[in-house]
């Protein structure tokens, strides 16, 4: 017996590609622009969102019959805010430098449209297990794009990956730098992330024509 049924596994796999929160639904762009200059920050952000969405979807799904529909947004905000504070405190305790890099954007996970979107669209109407899978799937889809953007931005902008120099030393002029290569300062600034996202969307839609909307 497979671990997940076909229907359940689609909950995880769909958001990774054909229904990706960033490249298809174009949600959660702000944080994708702001914190992807380094791969490490992107990865931590991705993990934080996976945690918040997985647990959040479980909680909302458990409470879905208790929350009065008129105040459901407030209830959702409280759940997500609680989880975000947990993440923020953990980061401050165990990865202080990183939490400074991410700065306000950990707190802004609360306003990440993907999270509220999944609470509204899925967790309020589905069982706990399926909600959990949906949360993990969407957060993974978000995280994958973040890591891809972070990879290219850090590699081209700083010549490092996870802070480790991979192209040589720009000051001592070793590796690629010895033949005149230089880091691309444009990749460090947020607009570059927008262009990288655009190129990912472009590549994705070229590979899968079904994603192209009717003009």
């Amino acid at each position: 017996m497979a671990l997940l049924s076909k229907k359940d596994s689609n909950l995880i796999l769909d958001p990774l590609a054909d229904n990706n929160p960033i490249t298809i639904q174009v949600l959660g762009i702000c944080s994708a622009l702001a914190i992807t200059a380094e791969l490490k920050a992107s990865l931590v952000m991705a993990i934080s969102v996976i945690f918040v969405m997985g647990i959040g979807n479980i909680v909302i799904s458990l409470l879905r019959n208790v929350i009065p529909s008129k105040i459901r947004i407030i209830a959702q905000l409280i759940v997500v805010a609680t989880l975000v504070i947990v993440v923020d405190q953990v980061l401050k305790a165990f990865a202080y430098e990183l939490s400074k890099t991410l700065s306000v954007f950990v707190g802004l996970i609360i306003t990440n449209c993907i999270i509220m979107g999944r609470f509204e669209a899925f967790a309020l109407g589905n069982g706990v297990w399926r909600s959990f899978l949906d949360g993990i799937g969407n957060a993974l889809g978000y995280g994958v794009i973040l890591v891809i953007i972070g990879f290219f931005r850090e590699l081209l902008g700083s010549g490092t990956l996870f802070g480790i120099p991979v192209l040589g030393d720009p000051i001592a002029k070793t590796g690629l730098y010895s033949i005149g290569y230089e880091n691309n300062g444009f990749m460090i600034i947020p607009p570059a992330a927008l262009i990288v996202v655009g190129i990912i969307i472009w590549v994705q839609r070229t590979r899968n024509k079904a994603l192209i909307e009717e003009a």
């Binding site: 005149g180 290569y181 230089e182 691309n184 300062g185 444009f186 600034i189 655009g198 472009w202």
Partner: protein
Amino acid sequence: MGLKEKLHQTKLKYQGKKMAPAFNAIHTFLYSPNETTHSGGHIRSVDDLKRTMNTVIMALVPCLLFGMFNAGYQHYSAINGFPENFSVMEHFITWDNFWLGAITILPLVIVSYGVGLAIEFVFAVIKGHEVEEGYLVTGMLVPLIVPVDTPLWMLAIAVAFGVVIGKEVFGGTGMNILNPALTIRAFLFFAYPTWMSGDKVWVHGAVERAGTADAISGETILGYLAQGNSDFSYSLSDMFFGFIPGSVGETSTFLILLGGLFLVFTKIASWRIMLSAVLGSLAMGLIFNGVVEAGWIPEYSKFYGLMSFEYWQHLLVGGLAFGIVYMATDPVTGSQTNKGKWIYGFLIGFMSVMIRVFNPGYPEGVFLAILLLNVFAPTIDHYVVRGNVKRRMKRLKNATILPKVTGEVEELKTETV
């Protein structure tokens, strides 16, 4: 059988094939095609897109040649000292100067055209439409607006970025919202700022010699002023004729002026944009001069040098004149309505000088001002058109339609509406 006939016949072979657009581009570049349209009435005229583009290139060639001489002149002057009793024929138009300029600048031109046209051809073949001529001018503008010593691989990356992200993703020539040449320059500026500003890049060889005993430097006038200095060694005629350091083709205001007149005379570029941009820059310059004269700004302020710079001299230094004549007048990215052109041009001049004075990192704002106004051009046009509609509606409402009482009134009304 001449080459022309041969091409006409090879064309038949390519018809309907994947590579047809690439072949047709070369064919129509060399000769006018041998087929005519089969239906409808057509006016036969020679001023197609290629002719328009070639006219602009003709206006740019003097700037390119001057840039080559100037590259050599600045290089040798930085090493040997500026000649006393400067004479153009003796010190400027020399074989040495030209040769040095040619071997440093021609590679820039070749890389710019090579990379840009290659991408245009690839996209045309993939999309299956004809190769568009838009890159002909961009390819010539790009080497003229970068410093002499820009590394070729940087230029290649920037050109690829500018053509793909600045133009092809929007649908190719005629659909872009930003001027591709300026997109390329903006990319270079933000990606490799050390190669696009400072006092080392404007003279050939200065970067290599930095830190050695033979070090030379050549700062642009704007760079010098931005550091708070207010006197410089160049005379007004140096600035006007262009014997100053700067990007390859932007230094000679005199030749740019001639090129601009040529473009206005051939009706390729809009004189409204050029004139209003000049007025805009003068206005901003006057405001700054006024601020200095009123004593509102202390002499130790870092803006003092540029603010006290004579207002009309802004047009003689840096890329302002070049930008106004060749970039702001781009018919695709500029405003289309006549009134819009006045507003668009004026704001370009106004913003250019403002960014020049207030930009702490780099005392040149022309490319940023033009890119900004490129984005706003459609908005300007929109409001100009709306304003026109409103005015005419008002006129219609107040119009008395004669004769008043007869049965024809109804008919007349419907006609006017």
